[in-house]
């Protein structure tokens, strides 16, 4: 063999060795330098985490009556790998959907080729049957079962029980919800929201190994879902329901509490909404309709409506004046239908006047002039001090919605906010709960509860208490004074000439006080005005007078006089508690 040919062959051998060396270098790069990175990818390649939501805990009322239930429903899902073989228009026809909508859903969810796409929720039985009958036409179609929440009492108690909705963007980023499957419904309102963590339990998790076609190869790890804990609300659904029925056609709120615990027996805010439409996945149109409704059904009036409490406030003026000893039960004031102060006149609601009247009858008949005098004697700052002691002017702390604080004015407040001194005329107004004074229905219910229980503030709660709460410190008002007030309130309902007569019950002794919040300044018979100019009606009450088990506040928007509009609702609420089921401790 000649040398040049041999040389050429040997050179080629070196070139080949060089090429092999090159491959080894590349192997080194992939396997040694980037090895762990690729290992991670290869594991992620074939691991899927499938979350299954846990059945939600059931919400019961205080007597163990279920308020919600979990109902299974059917969903139609498509496996993306079979999409090409599916006749979308036929599927659309069966599901009574638009082909374009289905295509839109598919396009939108094409993020992962292995995740089933949810085409429709809440299939009817007819739809399920038609799909099952034609199963071979739809390869990759999965009919799955999911749980939905059914609110057994519809819109009754909706503001307390709340509703479910899908995770919103903000919640999706919240670590609190990181365990929640993306598609799951969580509590968005009321108790469902407040106690969501307890109710939702923990989602099940399946880690499976899959192949490139998305087929399950083996189950690596499985955690069964843990059903959420049940919840016992303090609500009595019978009281709630009969009160809401009594509100029929009216707007307003009612809060009833157990004076000795702070448990809320009923919390009404009307108009209301049906939480079932949320549980189904509310449409944008429905949501808009709810939010733009002029009657504001999404407003929780019990915590978010603040108005002058009118004559119900006289309870506070009375307590302040008696405690400060500027009046005694025997103090008499002569009412001639109003008083004159400078050039202003402050009238009593009773044009002819009440004549000479003592404390008890002043409450019973709600004499304005008596309380002008009492207010004048005790002074606005003392009234404000007692009002605040009795829970007004600041939120009660029930976390259902963002609660409004109400307003209790005093000289300092006036100076800071209006840059003016306080005038005596304003004390007159405030003494009978008009002017700047504002309170929410729940504050007034709490006030009534404090009076009824002998001077203790229990924080309102919507949870049923397993054991009686620890005795809270007294707000320090003499029992004698409270007894005087209670007895007068009983008189207001039971005695002749009492303004709260409409709340009088043959079943049980009731004490209460009416109130009217003026909407417009003109003094005119309320019933002759168009509804939106009519006064708001208040009524606070407790029962039985001897050993109160319920304290409540009714507020009717544009209801006119408290005695006429609100007292009958209070009566109905109290009676329902004793008629349907004797209150359980």
């Amino acid at each position: 063999m000649d040398n040049t040919s041999r040389q050429r062959i040997i050179i080629s051998a070196f070139i080949i060795c060089g090429l092999f060396f090159f491959s080894v270098v590349k192997l080194w790069q992939l396997q040694i330098i980037q090895g762990s990175e690729y290992k991670k990818i290869s594991i992620e390649n074939m691991i899927r985490i499938i979350r299954s939501p846990a059945p939600r805990g059931i919400i019961y009322d205080r007597n163990g009556i279920p308020l919600v239930k979990n109902t299974p429903y059917f969903c139609a899902l498509l496996m993306p790998e079979h999409l090409e073989k599916i006749d979308i228009s036929t599927l659309a026809q069966i599901l009574s959907m638009d082909s374009d909508d289905i295509n839109y859903i598919i396009d939108k969810s094409s993020l992962s080729p292995f995740e089933p796409i949810k085409i429709k929720e809440r299939l009817t039985f007819k739809e399920v049957a038609s799909l099952e009958a034609r199963r071979s036409d739809f390869p990759g179609l999965v009919i799955s079962t999911e749980m939905s929440r059914e609110y057994l009492y519809g819109n009754v108690g909706a503001h307390v029980i709340g509703y479910l909705g899908k995770l919103n963007q903000q919640q999706a980023n919240d670590p609190e919800y990181k365990e929640v499957p993306q598609d799951a419904f969580i509590g968005q309102w009321g108790a469902e929201h407040l106690f969501d963590k307890t109710l939702r339990g923990s989602a099940g998790e399946k880690i499976i190994e899959i192949d490139a076609l998305g087929r399950e190869i083996r189950l690596l790890q499985e955690k069964a879902p843990v059903k959420g804990e049940d919840l016992n609300l303090s609500i009595d659904i019978n009281v709630q329901k009969s009160t809401e029925d009594a509100f029929e056609g009216k707007a307003g709120a009612m809060v009833a509490m157990k004076p000795d615990t702070g448990e809320i027996l009923a919390l009404v805010s009307r108009p209301s909404f049906d939480p079932n439409i949320f549980a189904k996945g509310i449409s944008f149109k429905e949501w808009l309709a709810l939010n733009q409704d002029k009657k504001v059904p999404m407003l929780n009036r019990a915590l978010q409506s603040q108005y002058p409490p009118g004559s119900t406030f006289k309870i506070i003026t009375a307590i302040a004046a008696l405690s400060e000893k500027v009046i005694t039960p025997e103090t008499k004031v002569t009412c001639t239908g109003g008083i004159k102060y400078g050039s202003w006149e402050f009238g009593c609601w009773k044009k002819g006047g009440h004549g000479t009247i003592s404390f008890h009858r002043a409450i019973v008949e709600s004499c304005d002039v008596y309380f002008y005098e009492a207010g004048k004697r005790v002074g606005i700052d003392k009234i404000a001090e007692y009002a605040k002691k009795l829970g007004l002017g600041s939120p009660t702390g029930l976390p259902l919605v963002k609660e409004r604080p109400g307003l209790i004015p005093d000289t300092k407040w006036k100076y800071e906010n209006k840059k003016q001194p306080w005038y005596l005329g304003e004390t007159f107004h405030s003494s009978i709960g008009q002017g700047y004074v504002a309170a929410t229905p729940i504050q007034m219910a709490q006030l009534m509860s404090i009076v009824a229980n002998g001077g203790y503030i229990y924080k309102p709660t919507i949870l049923k208490m397993e054991k009686p709460p620890e005795q809270v410190p007294s707000i320090g008002i003499s029992q004698k004074i409270l007894e005087l007030v209670k007895s007068a309130l009983y008189g207001a309902v039971s005695e002749g000439g009492g303004t709260g007569g409409a709340a009088k019950s043959s079943l049980i002794s009731v004490g209460g006080k009416t109130g009217t919040a003026q909407v417009v300044g003109i003094k005119k018979s309320s019933s002759s005005l168009p509804e939106k100019y009519r006064d708001h009606a208040w009524f606070v009450a407790f029962a039985p007078v001897e050993k109160p088990e319920i304290a409540l506040c009714v507020f009717v928007e544009h209801g006119g006089h408290g005695g006429g509009a609100a007292a009958p609702i209070a009566k109905r609420a109290i009676e329902s508690l004793y008629k349907e089921n004797k209150i359980k401790k």
């Binding site: 040919s5 080949i16 491959s23 590349k26 192997l27 290869s42």
Partner: protein, 372 residues
């Protein structure tokens, strides 16, 4: 039949052992990578490969048993048979995966272009003996037009880009070994550099869409990660995730779980790399390199020019297959769809590789025969 004892003594046991080891590694890898991961999904690829292997070994010994010189006498008729086979594929070929590459013969189908590459090596080796060294441009060009261009076009027409490329590379490298005039080499270099843009365009336009995709995906696999880029990405994932020592035999997932396409054919190296890691790959590459260097040594020691050109041609053919296939799985070269010799699943390829290896061993075994 009397077997010459010197034949047994001089038989190239080294090359044969390497080929056998590669084939056993192949069957193990095919078994692992096509194993059922979902119950009821049985595969029998490895059994068929074992059958092909037994036939292959038998053919190898058959090839070694006669003197290769005999082939030089029949090189031209063989070439004509080869061309006829290629024509018959174009006329009566079976279409599979968009290409017309297979001839269906009742009980089995085979791919004539796989055999043609060997016939081609024999033919060129034979033809070059009669040519004086240092070919001029004219003779190189006329050989190309007459003997290379026609089969090239026919193979491209199937289309079988991999084999066509192979034919071209074998022709050019054998020409270089045989000897070209310096000015021809210079001319070829200049022409190829200058014409790359023009030829590039013509070649690009002549490619099928999937071939274009492969080239695009080679340059940037992320352009089409779900399509052809997926092959390259998943291949890199399989190789890379093997790490230093591999996931262990039968522990690989990219192949059996179908993330790695063509895991038992063109991408078997990636499947092997996942289970055996850098160590395994390095040893496998060493085996291949040893086989190639043995082939080159055979060429150097060959007793005549035909033997030498035959050995060089076959060795280069193996080299090109190995380098391109492994380069492709490593993402160093575009996906052209050529199998890894002795490793990839497939009967025709295995048989033709055993024939080629047989010829190589034949040349080595008879390197002393001149002296008796």
């Amino acid at each position: 039949m009397q077997i010459d004892r010197r034949l047994i003594k001089n038989f190239d046991w080294v090359s044969f052992s390497i080929v056998l080891m590669l084939s056993i590694i192949s069957i193990m890898t095919i078994f692992s990578t096509t194993r059922a991961v979902i119950p009821g999904e049985e595969t029998s690829f490895y059994i068929r490969q074992i059958i092909w292997l037994i036939i292959g070994i038998a053919i190898l010994f058959l090839i070694v048993s006669f003197d290769y010189i005999w082939l030089s006498r029949y090189a031209y008729p063989l070439y004509i048979i080869g061309i006829l086979l290629l024509i018959s594929v174009l006329i009566a070929g079976k279409v599979g995966m968009g290409a017309k590459r297979w001839l269906y013969l009742g009980f089995f189908s085979f791919q004539p272009s796989e055999f043609f590459r060997i016939i081609f090596v024999i033919f060129i080796a034979r033809y070059f003996i009669g040519i004086s060294e240092n070919m001029g441009l004219y003779s190189l060009f006329s050989i190309f037009i007459i003997f290379v261009f026609i089969p090239l076009i026919m193979i491209l027409k199937q289309p079988d880009l991999g084999t066509a490329l192979m034919i071209l590379i074998i022709f050019l490298s054998l020409s270089l070994i045989k000897g070209l005039q310096k000015k021809v080499v210079t001319f070829l270099l200049i022409v190829s550099i200058v014409s790359i843009p023009f030829i590039g365009n013509i070649v690009w336009d002549g490619l099928k869409d999937y071939q274009k995709n492969r080239l695009v995906a080679f340059i940037d696999p992320d352009i089409d990660p779900a399509g052809i880029g997926y092959h390259i990405n998943q291949s890199k994932v399989a190789i890379g995730s093997g790490g230093f020592a591999g996931k262990g035999y039968m522990q690989g997932t990219q192949g059996p779980f179908r993330f790695l396409p063509e895991k038992h054919t063109d991408f078997i190296f990636a499947a092997f790399a996942e289970e055996w890691g850098f160590i395994g790959c390095f040893l496998l590459l060493l085996l291949y390199l040893a086989f190639i260097l043995r082939g080159i040594d055979t060429a150097i020691k060959a007793k005549d020019e035909f033997g030498r050109l035959l050995a060089v041609g076959i060795t280069f053919m193996f080299t090109v297959y190995i380098i391109i296939n492994i380069g492709m799985t490593l993402g160093l070269m575009p996906v052209v769809g050529i199998p890894l010799p002795f490793m990839s699943y497939g009967g025709t390829a295995l048989l033709s590789n055993f024939i080629a290896a047989g010829l190589l061993i034949n040349v080595r075994t008879r390197r002393f025969e001149l002296f008796y």
